[in-house]
């Protein structure tokens, strides 16, 4: 195998395309972005993920030039872009509402940005046709935006923002208006187009699944700060905080106190009358330090009897079952009232499933399944 | 509600409708009467007086010709009266109901008979002249101290008008008054109905047109009084009202009225009863009330117009009867002329000429 993994963020020699240098943005008394630094590299598909109001849209608007940082600087290709107005930046944006010009045809919408650059007529036509082909919109070129479907509009918006071949494309909740099925298809289409054009994409979303699917790296934000910036798998498997663990996917959080129990292994005392749990962690904990244990439900095994070799096992009874089709999530109530979720694949037909409400069950997981977090 | 109050309501309602029958509706020029007289009339006769006003003969005439105006007494000027009589708009007066008609002034009666033969349809209310109102200080500032303020030269000579333009000149918007005036100025018969003769006025008027700010028949009263304009060709009484308003306001504006030295148009406002008047009986009562010497004098003392009532003259205040601007001396009287209405075809020529002069088209 001689394919190199795309990971410029791990290369200390790589020059970032975008640099946020201690950027703060205040709106009156409200701090939207709080002393934030971040590097984004060329050809990345970078996702800004967070709940509404976390500052992700402000980040994007600062990149587009609609907002200016109150403090700090934003660099694009090594150049400070703070004084550059939006229309002079080699950055294009795809708006959440798509912001298609209703008075112009699809063709003219895509040509709009090119016309501003006074591109020669032939080149302009070629470029628009190319964009129409890329987004499979050829037969809709003469229509007006209100005469096409939501998914088609989304593609027009994409084509229009890509037409000028920007160094950086910003996508503000690009799939928010689409239904789930179309959204999933479009996610792959986006990735495909990103790969074909080699453009750096920064996407803003509140949908963690979407971020995980499309992005090379994800930045989880909360209250104007970056909580964690990492690849989707690291974010999921190795969240660095309870906030990130909780925000990304489903998780069981167990509070307790850590005691060292061998090399990078800790024993967690967590509830009266419950046997301690064991977890490994590369971060050090002092004895008696309060900690959180984060366990993904799919890493918890559910069984009728106590598995003989399980290092962590607790007993409870089935409180609730969420049937998701391919998966079922069991909410199991322990003797002390704690609820722990366990997920198992529905490989059998429903009538033959093993557990039902009020069944006594055992839950177990390995020492490496859980992540031990300081807070 | 008891039966008794119901009956009472019915009686009151009947009473109102009875009072309705005893209304007299008068349609007169605006600012043309002492309003105390209206109250006095109601007290003396027990009639309810409804008093409306207009500010142009044309508006009145259109109401008369449309018919069904609902008025009992109207006040057209001489030429308009004559035409409306021909159209059958008025009813003959019943002399038996006008016991005060002996008060009328024969000098005026002779002249109004030109419009209303034998004065069968109308009585004279007021008469006056069409002349010039000047803001003395401003005109002298523009044209020098020894300018003749009563000459038509002031408003018909372009070199004078050029100097007056900046302080503002208004003319009456009444071709039937201005065209005879210009004819008099150029030595033609002011009452000419000959299209070619009338056409001669065009050149004179176009010569001064650029310096005339507006043709309007009532705005000049306030405009003169406020000092917004310095010269107006207008009706005697209106300009005298402007004079008094300026004096009352004590704004330093001094207005004078002069009949033209070259001869002024004499006009008459006549009271008449429409053919379809709802209450001719009440109308006669109103005319007889106006013919009373004291009442007529009160009206003239208030509006500063001369009237056609000889008996009223002893009750006139000195600043009315003694003012040659209101009651001209004999020499000036000799110089006054009257006009007769234009036939329809000539009227169209006159209106067309007037539009051309006003708008240049």
């Amino acid at each position: 195998m001689n394919t190199t993994v795309f990971a410029p963020w791990e290369d200390p020699q790589a020059k970032p395309l975008i640099q946020f240098q201690n950027v703060t943005k205040r709106f009156g008394g409200f701090t939207a972005i709080d002393n934030l630094s971040l590097d984004i590299f060329e050809k990345e598909f970078f996702a800004l993920l967070g709940p509404s109001g976390c500052g992700k849209t402000t980040m994007m608007r600062m990149l587009a030039g609609f907002e200016k940082p109150s403090d700090g600087h934003i660099m694009l290709g090594g150049q400070d872009i703070d004084p550059i107005p939006p229309n002079k930046r080699a950055v294009n944006m795809m708006f959440q509402s798509y912001a298609l010009f209703p008075h112009l045809s699809i063709w003219e919408n895509i040509a709009f940005g090119l016309r501003r650059d006074n591109m020669p007529k032939r080149d302009l036509e070629d470029r628009v046709e190319e964009m129409l082909r890329l987004t499979r919109l050829e037969q809709f070129a003469r229509r007006k935006p209100h005469q096409i479907s939501g998914g088609q509009r989304q593609r027009v918006a994409l084509a229009r923002s890509l037409a000028k071949a920007p160094k950086l494309l910003l996508l503000d909740e690009p799939l928010g208006a689409l239904d789930k099925k179309l959204r999933q298809d479009t996610q792959f289409e986006l990735m495909d187009i990103q790969e074909k054009t080699g453009t750096t994409f920064v996407i803003v979303t509140h949908d963690q699944e979407e971020a995980m699917t499309v992005a090379s790296r994800v930045a989880v934000m909360d209250q104007g700060k970056l909580m964690q910036v990492a690849t989707p798998d690291r974010i999921y498997e190795n969240p660095n905080s309870v906030y990130v663990a909780d925000f990304i996917g489903d998780v069981n959080i167990i509070e307790g106190r850590a005691t060292a129990n061998g090399d990078e292994t800790y024993q967690v005392d967590w509830a009266e009358g419950q046997s301690p749990l064991t977890a490994t962690s590369s971060t050090g904990f002092t004895n008696g330090q309060s900690c959180h244990l984060a366990i993904r439900p799919e890493k918890v095994t559910i069984s009728a009897d106590r598995p003989a070799d399980a290092i962590n096992a607790v007993q409870g009874k089935v409180h609730d079952i969420a049937y998701l089709g391919n998966l079922s999530t069991y909410h199991v109530e322990l003797a002390n009232g704690t609820i722990i979720k366990a997920q198992s694949a529905n490989t059998r037909r429903i009538s033959r499933r093993s557990f039902t409400w009020e069944d006594p069950v055992w839950l177990s997981w390995t020492a490496t399944a859980a992540v031990l977090l300081a807070n | 509600m008891s039966i008794k109050t119901l009956t009472m309501t019915a009686i009151v309602a009947l009473g109102t409708s009875a009072a309705f029958a005893e209304e007299v509706r008068v349609y007169n020029w605006s600012d043309y009467i002492d309003e105390d007289l209206l109250k006095k009339f109601e007290e003396e006769t027990g009639l309810t007086l409804i008093y409306d006003v207009f500010d142009s003969n044309e508006v009145l005439e259109t109401k008369m010709l449309a018919g069904g105006s609902g008025y009992d007494v109207v006040v057209p000027s001489g030429t308009f009266l004559q035409r409306q009589i021909q159209a059958g708009a008025f009813q003959e007066l019943d002399a038996a109901k006008l016991s005060n008609s002996g008060n009328l002034w024969d000098v005026i009666q002779e002249r109004t008979a030109g419009y209303d033969p034998d004065n069968a349809y109308s009585i004279n209310y007021m008469w006056g002249t069409t002349g010039i109102g000047v803001n003395v200080a401003k005109v002298k500032e523009a044209l020098g101290d020894d300018v003749a303020l009563n000459s038509m030269d002031l408003v018909l000579k372009p070199e004078n008008m050029e100097k007056l333009a900046s302080c503002g000149v208004h003319f009456l918007d009444a071709p039937s008054e201005i065209i005879p005036m210009v004819l008099q100025y150029i030595g033609e018969d002011p009452d000419s109905h000959d299209k070619d003769v009338i056409g001669k006025t065009e050149e004179v008027l176009l010569g001064v047109r650029p310096h005339i700010q507006k043709f309007h028949s009532s705005e000049y009263i306030n405009a003169l009084a406020n000092g917004d304009i310095c010269v107006a060709v207008g009706w005697s009484g209106d300009i005298l009202q402007a004079r008094d308003r300026a004096a009352e306001a004590d704004n330093g504006v001094e207005i004078e009225y002069h009949p033209f030295a070259e001869g002024s148009l004499m006009w008459f406002d006549q009271m008449a009863i429409p053919a379809d008047a709802p209450n001719p009986e009440g109308a006669h009562q109103f005319l007889n009330f106006i013919l009373d010497a004291n009442n007529m004098a009160a009206a003239s003392n208030y509006v500063y117009y001369a009237n056609g009532n000889k008996a009223s003259q002893e009750f006139l205040e000195e600043d009315v009867i003694g003012d040659p601007a209101i009651y001209p001396n004999d020499a000036t009287m000799q110089n006054l002329y009257i006009t007769t209405p234009y036939p329809a075809k000539t009227q169209r020529t006159v209106t067309r000429l007037w539009t051309k002069i006003k708008s240049g088209t």
Binding site: A64, G65, M93 | L65, A66, D228, A344, K358, G360
Partner: protein, 316 residues
């Protein structure tokens, strides 16, 4: 019958005939309205325009004499002719007056647009909580009589009026400006009076506009001004068109403003109509002028209707 609603109606004894009657009545009301308030007056005016002037009450002939029976009716129609319309073509006054009215209407419409657009734009961009208040301020003048407001302008614009006094006091001018009784005053009066008719439709089209469209245009390389020109203006075009028609149509026939604020030289068809009617007592020619005016106005009204219709279709 599958529709329960109809079954219920039948149950109440409201039969098919009754339903038909009611529907016919419902359709009839707008037609009766149109007939009574537009067509009947129009035909009366048309009839007078085909008559001849006469010194009588009413001042034209013939009048319909029904006591003569059928002979009276045929006699009446035989006396009508188009002489007055021919007359309108013979004197250049009339077409010049029509043209001048259209010119004044066009200029005032452009002026009203220039003044109204920024106001509408400002309103649409104002914080949401201010908008009802701003809207109120635009509509507020309608609460006083139109005539009083025009008279107020006479007080402002006259030689000794407030405007001149302020300008003199500020030392901007040394002699009073003559504004009243000029075309300038007419334009001021028209722009002032008709401004709300321009602002409201433009405002409603701007208010609906998504602000991100402007950002998108800027993002794609437009300066602020260019974005305004390429996006805001085209998107508010239906509002602009509606506003322009709402101003232009009534201004063509305007009489009160030019006669109160204008000089005697302000030539407008409304004034010519007045002169024909009042000075010449020529009701037939006046009616002919009115009929032609109506026909001239039909063109912009039809265009306006079409614009409105297109807008409704686009909205769907």
């Amino acid at each position: 019958m599958g529709r329960p609603g109809l079954a219920v109606m039948d149950g109440h004894g409201c039969g098919f005939a009754g339903e038909l009657m009611r529907r016919a009545l419902l359709i009839a009301i707008p037609y009766v309205w149109l007939l009574a308030l537009f067509l009947v007056p129009f035909f009366i005016v048309l009839k007078i325009s085909l008559s001849d002037v006469e010194l009588a009450i009413p001042p034209y002939t013939p009048t319909l004499d029904l006591s003569q029976g059928w002979a009276g009716i045929t006699d009446f129609f035989s006396q009508l002719d188009f002489e007055n319309f021919v007359w309108l073509t013979e004197d250049d006054l009339y077409w010049k007056a029509y043209l001048s009215s259209v010119k004044i209407a066009l200029i005032s419409t452009v002026l009203t647009l220039l003044v109204g657009y920024p106001i509408a734009y400002g309103m649409a961009r104002a914080p949401t909580e201010w908008r009802p208040t701003l809207m109120m301020l635009v509509i507020l003048p309608f609460w006083t009589s139109f005539l009083i407001r025009v008279y107020a302008w006479m007080g402002i614009l006259s030689n000794e009026g407030y405007l001149n006094q302020i300008l003199l006091w500020l030392g901007i001018i040394s002699t009073p400006l003559t504004i009243l009784n000029t075309n300038t005053a007419v334009y001021i009066g028209i722009v002032y009076t008709y401004l709300p008719f321009m602002i409201l439709p433009i405002y409603s089209s701007l208010e609906r506009m998504d602000e991100s469209l402007i950002e998108a245009a800027e993002d794609l390389g437009c300066s602020r001004l260019k974005a305004f020109w390429l996006v805001t203006i085209p998107l508010s075009r239906p509002g602009i068109i509606a506003g322009c028609f709402l101003v232009m149509i009534p201004v063509i026939g305007e009489f009160v403003i030019p006669s109160l604020l204008g000089g005697s030289g302000t030539l407008m068809i409304g004034k010519v109509l007045w002169e024909e009617f009042f000075s010449n007592r020529d009701w037939p020619v006046a009616s002919a002028v009115a009929v032609v005016l109506l026909l001239i106005l039909v063109i912009p009204i039809v265009l306006f209707q079409r614009n409105q219709q297109k807008q409704t279709e686009a909205g769907q």
